[in-house]
């Protein structure tokens, strides 16, 4: 019995071509927001009870309350540090294992080594580019610097130091 070979391209149409290009900033921002939403659900929300007291206060009341509760200041600072570390884990684990976070997966973005596109990202690279993404604690300052660097150099400081690039796949 002869098995028929079914051609996947019977009309000989040109195959789909995929181009990899530098990702647009809007896609990257959207990917980051998606990641932050996910981080909010799985990480930040776990700690919301500790901030219940502050949630019903306005800004002035918060300042007064925090200033009269020194133990609380230390606790808030510690919680922020812990949240920051957990967020760092999130970015590091996903970018190291899969070269992209869930947000980037949804936006079809990839993180690549700038010079050797096919090379696996090293832990160092992933770590360096991730520490600029955390909006809490002292990392918030790094994030600010990262954004300012992008505004002037059209490249994230994190990407520059880690020698990485974020690419998007465009198909024709």
């Amino acid at each position: 019995m002869v098995k028929a070979k079914v051609s996947m391209n019977p009309l000989n149409l040109p195959k789909k071509r995929l181009f990899e290009n530098s990702a647009s900033i809007w896609k990257r921002i959207l990917a980051y927001l998606i990641d932050m939403m996910l981080i909010n659900i799985i990480i930040i929300d776990r700690f919301k009870d500790h901030f219940n007291e502050l949630s019903s206060l306005d800004f002035t009341q918060i300042i007064t309350f925090v200033n009269t509760n020194q133990e609380l200041i230390a606790q808030i600072a510690t919680i922020e540090a812990v949240i920051s570390v957990l967020i760092l884990f999130y970015f590091i684990i996903f970018e190291y294992k899969f070269e992209r976070t869930p947000g980037k997966m949804i936006m079809k973005l990839f993180v690549k080594d700038k010079t050797k596109k096919k090379a696996q990202l090293t832990f160092q690279q992933v770590f360096i580019r991730s520490i600029f993404k955390i909006p809490f604690s002292i990392f918030g300052l790094l994030m600010f610097v990262d954004v300012v660097h992008y505004m002037f150099r059209k490249e994230r400081l994190g990407d520059k130091l880690a020698n990485t690039i974020v690419t998007e796949v465009i198909s024709t």
Partner: protein, 303 residues
């Protein structure tokens, strides 16, 4: 490490792991920090401070069951917070305690009197001995008709194992410097002389207790001494004897404060939050008084 192709399960596993780690980390920070109470709620003008469990100087309630402890350190801290809060005008002490240490009860009683706030006690199931000492320091005492209260007395009983040791041919080798150093040791029989000394100490503590209750309740010392047989009374009996002021509940306490201060009562409760480290430390807690009261040499105002 080769790049992995992400699939739903691998992504899910990572997210779940992060979720679990975050939850555990959050539990770790659930501290017994009293600053986490709702004193920041600037609408509240009456603080409710719980006095639940055996009253001791230190320690926390055991969230896994077993003996609960009402720490005088914590209660006094909460009283001071209420005192220093410009919004708080009164304190309601919600009491459900068999009593406890004399020092702890006295310290809380003094703190209540120095607070200069309107204070009301609400006795639930039990407010005896040291807990009654604390209640007596407040301006107004409310109890249920079936609440147990009173028990104005001191207990210093302990188990004497000397006979048991003898049965097992175990000898207590006594080495002391200071002849009363091992007074009330459960390992030997107490002498008559030591009994008299110890009883004298209990009587002195009893006198302090009686003096405080008499002063707090506006009773004569003679009247108070007649009531201070160590007997506990039902709320209905205590009302007739002048040991409490009213039969009722927390709602009656709020009504009393509203009448006294002419305010609309908005309460805030001081809750003691437990962190996972507090919970773990309670598993090997020194605060479980179970056998302690029969083994250790400590007279207590305990029912």
């Amino acid at each position: 490490m080769r790049k992995e192709v992400p699939n739903f399960w691998s992504i899910g596993k990572i997210l779940l792991t992060l979720f679990i780690i975050s939850s555990l980390a959050s539990m770790f920070f659930g501290s017994g920090n009293d600053d986490e109470s709702t004193i920041s709620d600037n609408k509240a003008n009456v603080a409710i401070i719980p006095v639940k469990g055996v009253i001791m100087v230190e320690g926390n309630s055991n969230p896994l069951g077993g003996t609960s402890v009402a720490s005088s350190d914590r209660i006094i801290k909460e009283i001071n917070k209420a005192k220093n809060s410009p919004n708080i005008k009164a304190i309601i002490f919600e009491i459900n305690s068999p009593g406890g240490g004399g020092v702890a009860s006295d310290e809380v009683g003094q703190a209540i009197k120095e607070s200069n706030l309107t204070t009301v006690s609400v006795i639930r199931e039990m407010g005896t001995s040291g807990a009654y000492w604390i209640a007596s320091a407040t301006d107004h005492i409310i109890a249920n008709r079936m609440s147990l209260t009173g028990s104005i007395g001191v207990i210093g009983s302990y188990l004497d194992f000397s006979g048991l040791l003898e049965d097992f041919n175990i000898t207590y080798k006594r080495f002391v410097a200071g002849k009363y150093k091992d007074i009330r040791s459960p390992m030997r029989e107490i002498t008559n002389e030591e009994s008299k000394i110890y009883q004298g100490i209990l009587d002195k503590m009893h006198d302090f207790f009686i003096t405080e209750v008499a002063a707090n309740r506006g009773l004569s010392e003679k009247e108070t001494r007649e009531l201070a047989t160590g007997l506990f009374y039902l709320g209905s009996e205590a009302l007739e004897l002048g040991l409490i002021d009213e039969l009722g509940t927390i709602e009656d306490a709020k009504n009393y404060i509203e009448k006294e201060l002419d305010i609309e009562v908005v309460t805030t409760e001081f809750k003691e939050k437990k962190s996972i480290t507090d919970i773990l430390s309670q598993l090997i807690s020194k605060n479980d008084i179970g056998l302690q009261k029969f083994i250790y040499n400590k007279p207590q105002l305990l029912d």
